[in-house]
Symmetry: C2
Subunit: 407 residues, 2 copies
């Protein structure tokens, strides 16, 4: 297994791009990544393309990567379409890394993209709702609902007409953590305030405006303790990275970002908060990279909701559950804190165009490690971590890819 480096990264702004096709989005991100890598399109020997729901959203059910990349002049190479729900493009990254590490290719492109906005919002929610075992989810949802009580479950971004089983599930899991560690709705609101502050410094973020604690708490109930501003929005976008073998990277860049660990896993069905996919997979990532959670200088976690950010950090062994309220109150997770988390704004404000999210997390930590993150730059990070999950984590059939990067 050869060392592999990220030598280029690019992404579109996340948000509502009704006027752009999936080809437009992919082209923008991929061309930036290729330019950033200082290479030419013809140097790319294979491509790994992550997408989740283009079939349902755009009709392009098959050969999504071939269609988008051929349109920008990348053809005659192997192109692999990879799907893993919200972890689609980190899975694609893992496969691209494996092939490069094995010596099959010197240089590969990894792209993630998603087009979720539609004039018919129901279509977007329906597409997102397929990241579960459709047969099993009804059963689990009924079970969860009986434990959730009678809170009004209103969907993010909308009225009572729309509801997302995901947000109800997240709310249910969140309340368990509130009981265990004394976390309150206000703590989660503080995480959302942090996310919005970071997003305001991120030109690619969907939401770029700082908000107050009061505004988060009053932004509309979704499913207690979640309010609207604690939930990741619907979004369109694309992100891309270029990976190179050690030899090729040495010739092409003076600022390689090395892949110290790339581990993937899928989750069995469990209702046990102590036996989640994150808890099972994290030790493997640390072992492969030869680090401990205390060594991480900057991290991007899969905060589909604001509470999920702190839950992820607890499950990753980065924050002790007992310390969680204090960490949030004292700003430990801020860009200038001692354990900066989601400097990009995370899924909550950067946005969450499903298939693009994994690559966008990698984009963020690559820029951070290279010191190119402007006003949201973490001070001199050397080790970075990304945590990207798909499906309903810990509850249903799900997938996850964790990455460790080093300067």
């Amino acid at each position: 297994m050869d060392d592999v480096a990220v030598i280029g990264a690019g992404m579109t702004r996340f948000g509502k791009h009704l006027d752009k096709s999936i080809k437009d989005l992919v082209r923008e991100a991929a061309e930036e990544a290729i330019k950033d890598a200082g290479i030419d399109k013809k140097d790319i020997q294979a491509a790994y393309v992550g997408n989740a729901v283009a079939g349902l959203m755009t009709g392009q059910e098959m050969i999504r990567g071939q269609v988008t990349l051929t349109s920008m002049g990348i053809d005659s190479i192997p192109i692999f379409n990879v799907e893993s729900a919200c972890a689609s493009s980190s899975s694609a990254f893992h496969l691209g890394w494996a092939a490069t590490s094995a010596g099959l290719y010197d240089t590969v492109l990894v792209v993630g993209f998603e087009k979720l906005f539609d004039k018919d919002k129901k279509k977007s929610f329906m597409a997102l709702g397929t990241a579960v075992d459709l047969e099993l989810v009804l059963e689990y949802f009924q079970k969860a609902e009986s434990e959730m009580g009678k809170e009004d479950k209103i969907m993010h971004e909308g009225s009572g007409e729309k509801r997302s089983i995901f947000m109800d599930m997240y709310a249910w899991m969140t309340r368990r953590y509130m009981d265990m560690y004394g976390l309150t709705q206000e703590h989660f609101a503080k995480l959302s305030v942090k996310a919005h502050k970071n997003g305001a410094f991120n030109p690619h973020a969907q939401y770029q405006e700082a908000v107050t604690l009061e505004e988060v708490l009053q932004s509309g109930d979704v499913s207690f303790p979640l309010t609207r501003m604690m939930c990741s929005p619907i979004g369109d976008g694309s992100a891309a990275v270029v990976l190179s073998s050690k030899g090729a990277a040495a010739k092409r860049t003076t600022k390689p970002v090395w892949v110290a660990a790339s581990v993937a896993g899928s989750g069995k069905i469990t209702n046990d908060p102590d036996d989640t996919l994150t808890r099972r997979l994290a030790p493997k990532a640390y072992e492969v990279a030869g680090i401990g959670p205390e060594d991480i200088d900057v991290i991007e976690v899969h905060d589909a909701t604001s509470p999920a950010e702190i839950i992820d950090l607890i499950e990753l062994g980065i924050c002790r559950g007992e310390d969680a309220p204090k960490w949030i109150d004292e700003g430990v997770l801020d860009v200038d804190g001692s354990k900066p988390s989601n400097p990009s704004g995370g899924l909550v404000t950067k946005g969450h165009p499903v298939g693009a999210t994994g690559c966008a997390q990698i984009y963020e930590v690559v820029k951070q490690l290279r010191g190119e993150s402007g006003k949201r730059q973490v001070k001199d990070p050397k080790i970075a971590f990304t945590h990207n999950g798909g499906g309903i984590l810990g509850i249903d059939a799900s997938s996850m890819t964790l990455h460790v990067f080093k300067k």
Copy 2:
């Protein structure tokens, strides 16, 4: 890169399985492959799952592999969902081979599946129609149509209501070959007769009845020279194989089938029959395997139509175009001929459940190399080849995976 062997293979019968879910189909094929490999489910370290249109056909747009494999007790391992139209599961095989070859895993499972039958036939045709660049195809179709003339274009399996742009495209390409090499509609009918004869000896084939030349020619016009019995049918099914590293294979089987070459490619847009993806990719497969086309003892090619079988063999350099009519007339491609092609019956009679086809081709040649193919057994083959393409080959954005296997 370590040597990798196929140590187990399994598949369902292809056909109409309205009473079976995608979980049922995958379970049947995967359990047979695992049993055939003489291993336990827990020995599988990663899974690569090929599928094309489950999103549109069943609603399960995301985490298809997680959902199907978790239901049969395969979880907690990395599961990668791979899509490449009709080449989906051979692409999944390629990725599984790459990871095993790189030493990431000792033993991996590759599964392909598809559920295409629906009470609403239009749904199936619509799903299949997405294996193209939806934006570009209209333009190409119009162009092709103007060259095709006014033949009645009636879809396989149905009345004039249904039509498939694929079959029209294949017909158009076929007529070019007729002009070049003196191939006639009767030659293609003979290939269909051979396919039905082989299918009759294949317990997994969708069609298991021998037919006469007259029956093929009178089976209903699709798009000249194609008749209904020359076209691959709609079908459901699954096929699976287990791959092992050299070390693990040595412990587990006395009849390994070695992967001598696994090459993947995607095609640029071209209308030139001399510049197709098959023509470009084949030399690479031969080079990697260290063989020439003359060394192949048994082959499974992507005969979406009967004429495609001979076109593929010409493009692969196995049959000279000038010799094609003679080869067909003299039975060179028969199971007991000197160059047996598609002993399984091929896509035309074994069936073509899109995402399952690549693995099913591999199933066939593995059984052939092991001498386990019963009445359709080719005499003592040592080298086998599989040719699996996705999208409209040579015309549109497309993909292909070629494999060479050795005893």
